[in-house]
């Protein structure tokens, strides 16, 4: 029992900093503003970040694989339009239409981004910028810049309705998170993503299908964007021909705050979850205490810089506090289980997502 608790504690190491920040932030607002800690408000916080959460899960895999995806906002918008068009024409029943939307997102991500990144080895930045730009245009052309109103009950249900007093998007978030956590920790595909991002060449030489892994990673990111697009449609009650230009970058920010390295090979969806919570709590809390919500961007920017700086100094593995501590000259004792001989590979680092 004691062993299990310490194992769980050890496994939190890479995102302990963001965890601490989230807890502190929550406590701060809870004390400051009693209205903040009501169950209703906590639900609101969660529901408000559901779209970001789902997109950021897919983005975590992309970053761990060593990539980047600017196009998820555009894919989400296009998938929303697809859903609106399908329902408007009564082509498919509600649930099937939503599933089809997710598949369309996966195909867009896998074919447009994955193929060009993995097979043609083009820069991820160029590829996803290009697909973002082109898809934004298609959204406008396809809709003629008119919104499509959606009245289908299923679609509205996935965004607005409640089950046992809890909003449905929260269930969706939990399910998506559980799937990602399982894939990350317990499947060969998950291992392949880390191997490909950690060292593309070493992975390829060891027989990892690096190209297929990358295509899959972008398809998964696309599928997440598709689901996020469907939720957005349900929330507004319409498919709006508008691409949220900040969605992709906000998702990347959440992933980075969660301790995933931009250089690939290390990171965790658990950290990303806390990164999203941080953004949600900050937004909601500042609102409640009456601070202009624009301040959240300033704070997010500062925390983002601090966490990446900490990650850099800490070798991308030790988490922010370790890194900052090291930058300031404190040294933490090396863990007993490592045999550090090379000075370059400092023993004080440890990427704790390793499955125990």
């Amino acid at each position: 029992m004691k062993r299990a608790v310490s194992d769980i504690f050890a496994s939190t190491r890479p995102f302990r900093t963001v965890l601490a920040i989230v807890v502190l932030l929550f406590a701060l607002f809870a004390v400051w503003q009693p209205g903040f800690r009501t169950i209703l408000n906590v639900q609101n916080v969660l529901a408000s970040i559901s779209i970001l959460w789902i997109v950021a899960m897919g983005m975590t895999f992309v970053l761990v694989s060593g990539g980047f995806d600017l196009s998820v906002g555009a894919i989400a918008a296009l998938c929303g339009i697809f859903l609106g068009k399908v329902l408007e024409a009564h082509l498919l029943p509600g649930p099937v239409a939503v599933a089809a939307t997710i598949i369309v997102g996966a195909i867009l991500g896998g074919v447009l981004n994955g193929l060009f990144v993995a097979v043609f080895r083009l820069s991820v930045f160029v590829v996803t910028l290009a697909s973002m730009t082109a898809l934004t245009g298609i959204v406008l052309i396809w809709t003629n810049t008119q919104s499509i109103y959606v009245t289908n009950p299923v679609v509205n249900q996935i965004s607005i309705s409640r089950l046992l007093g809890v909003q449905t998007p929260i269930y969706i978030m939990i399910v998506v998170f559980a799937i990602f956590l399982y894939v990350q920790r317990r499947t060969y595909f998950g291992r392949d993503i880390y191997a490909t991002g950690g060292s593309y060449t070493a992975a390829r030489l060891s027989g990892v299908r690096t190209e297929r892994t990358l295509i899959m990673v972008y398809a998964v990111a696309g599928a997440c964007a598709g689901l996020a697009g469907a939720i957005a449609v349900g929330r507004v009650g319409a498919a709006v021909p508008q691409v949220d230009p900040g969605l992709a970058l906000q998702a990347v920010a959440a992933v980075l705050i969660g301790g995933t390295a931009l250089t690939g090979g290390a990171g965790s969806v658990v950290g990303t979850a806390f990164g999203c919570l941080f953004i949600g709590i900050l937004q909601n809390g500042l609102n409640m205490v009456g601070v202009a919500s624009s301040w959240q961007y300033v704070v997010t920017g500062i925390i983002l810089l601090a966490s990446v700086l900490g990650g850099r100094v800490g070798g991308h593995r030790g988490g922010m506090l370790t890194g900052l501590k090291r930058a300031l000259g404190f040294r933490s004792p090396p863990p007993a289980d490592s045999c550090a001989v090379e000075p370059a590979a400092d023993a004080a680092s440890g990427r704790g997502e390793s499955d125990r």
Binding site: T187, A195, S199, L205, G207, R317, C339, S349
Partner: protein, 508 residues
């Protein structure tokens, strides 16, 4: 130190490095090394095996490093070079092995880059700059248009541009570090013509090469380094190819006795017939038997590495066949090779051998599980057990969950090797299997390799260390310029003989 004092009649040598010492941590890289260039207009060859201290000496000479002890003097006056620019200011310029040119700029820009582009009233005067570049190019006998973009040049032309760049400053001593390693015979001739031309103009050239015939053709005098000590120096006429190699290699260590002198079962596993790879390998025949370790020796770029890469599917052969257990093998992908039971330990451990941020277990399991269903779980006990067994077999000093980046070089290399021993392949290809690991780990890895061979794995080991090949292999195949020049059984192999063959000398 005026020009007069460096003239042929003065007593003080043009350049002398004496009593040089340099330590890197505990390693004594230079230990009382010396090199003296008496007069201008000579080609001085600096010889030595890998790790003999040549690069350290060149780095000291070109101002990139400072010696811990020792005197650098030019024309009798003592010098201290604080930076490459400092050395340049004293007329010493180095052209390193890899060309360092801005590929997308013109020849003129590359030659005169830095503060030497000629400025007119209206910014840079391109006309004058090109004229100056053309002038320098003529000095080496190259009639290129200075407006050409460097990317479009052949390797030897790039080399010329680099030499021209060195000459655009007032150079008196030009260091050429393995200038011919990427040149063809024809291109080498052109380079030699340029070197002779520079000699006539009074430029001194320090020439570093592993190719012995070349050295005897172009140089006038030689300095030989071994283990950081200058072991021989003198005029070219004082050396023969045999005595030069003997000086480079030193006393032969007796071959270590090997328990169980198994030289394979005699059943060929891998046969290579007339293999050619565009630009690097031509018409190579090879055979490896079950349980046999065959070594591939030769200089870098001699084709030994490319043969391994072709077998593993990283390079497409332009001709020839690869037979695995008698069946022809067609592959253009490492995965196909793995399926057929071929493993590969790549030369660069940190970027190719292991995934540094992953755990020992995940690294070990990677090759064996490349055939698994992607969405199935890697946590079933058997793989974990196999990893544990392999880790124990190789005595990897780390927990299975430890990140590989926290391991020492030797243990990392054991992980890179261990991933193939989980499911032993028929053929294991190894490229520089002990590069950058310490002596004790090296001996340990050799022992594990021989163990694995005694269990029936056929091995091809490519190495630039001739003593490693002597220690490890049952048979050694020497490559030179893409061809097999000799195959030597273990009991006839000596380091001297391998080094001479690898350097291009023919056995009578």
């Amino acid at each position: 130190m005026s020009l007069e004092s460096t003239g042929p009649h003065s007593v003080a040598p043009l350049l002398s490095l004496t009593g040089l010492h340099k330590w890197f941590g505990g390693v004594h890289a230079l230990c009382d090394a010396r090199m003296v260039l008496q007069k201008t207009g000579v080609v001085h060859a600096l010889m030595g095996q890998n790790g003999s201290g040549k690069s350290t000496m060149l780095n000291i000479l070109s101002g990139q490093m400072r010696p811990d002890e020792g005197v650098i003097a030019m024309g009798g006056s003592r010098m201290t070079f604080r930076s490459p620019l400092d050395a340049l200011a004293h007329g010493i310029s180095m052209v390193s092995q890899e060309t360092a040119l801005a590929e997308d700029l013109s020849i003129a820009e590359n030659i005169l880059l830095g503060h030497r582009l000629i400025r007119g009233k209206m910014g840079i005067d391109w006309g004058a700059t090109r004229d100056r570049a053309r002038e320098v190019l003529t000095q080496v006998g190259a009639d290129y248009d200075p407006a050409w973009i460097v990317r479009s040049l052949r390797p030897d032309q790039k080399q010329m541009v680099e030499i021209a760049r060195a000459l655009s400053t007032d150079v008196r001593i030009l260091v050429l570090d393995e200038p011919t390693s990427s040149l063809t015979d024809e291109e080498t001739k052109g380079l030699f013509a340029a070197i002779r031309r520079l000699k006539e103009q009074g430029v001194c050239i320090i020439y570093v090469s592993h190719r012995l015939p070349e050295v005897f053709e172009i140089s006038d005098e030689m300095t030989v380094l071994r283990d950081g000590v200058t072991v021989a120096e003198g005029h070219k006429g004082d050396f023969s190819p045999r005595s030069l190699v003997a000086a480079m290699v030193g006393t032969e260590k007796p071959l270590p006795l090997r328990e169980g002198q198994t030289c394979g079962s005699g059943i060929p596993v891998l046969q290579i017939r007339h293999l050619s790879v565009e630009g690097s390998v031509s018409d190579v025949d090879l055979e490896v038997c079950e349980g046999e370790i065959v070594g591939l020796g030769g200089l870098l770029g001699s084709g030994r590495r490319e043969v391994l890469e072709a077998i593993y599917g990283l390079r497409r052969p332009s001709a020839g066949t690869i037979l695995l257990s008698g069946k022809p093998l067609k592959n253009d992908n490492p995965l196909v090779a793995i399926k057929h039971g071929i493993g590969f330990v790549p030369p660069d451990r940190k970027t190719q051998g292991v995934v540094l941020p992953m755990s020992v277990k995940d690294n070990l399991a990677m090759a064996a599980t490349s055939e698994r269903q992607r969405l199935s779980s890697p946590r079933n006990g058997t793989i974990e057990e196999e990893c544990r067994a392999t880790s124990k077999l190789l005595a990897i000093k780390a927990e299975l969950d430890a990140e590989v980046m926290t391991l020492s070089g030797g243990n990392q290399q054991k992980v890179a090797l261990g991933k193939w021993l989980l499911r032993p392949p028929k053929v294991l290809l190894l490229d520089e299997p002990t590069r950058g690991v310490d002596v004790s780990a090296k001996g340990e890895i050799h022992r594990h390799l021989r163990d694995a061979a005694s269990r029936g794995i056929a091995m091809l080991v490519s190495s630039s260390e001739y003593d490693e090949l002597c220690d490890l292999c049952d048979r050694i195949v020497i490559f030179f310029r893409g061809c097999v020049v000799a195959t030597i059984p273990r009991d006839e192999a000596t380091e001297t003989r391998l080094a001479a063959l690898g350097g291009g000398t023919k056995e009578g």
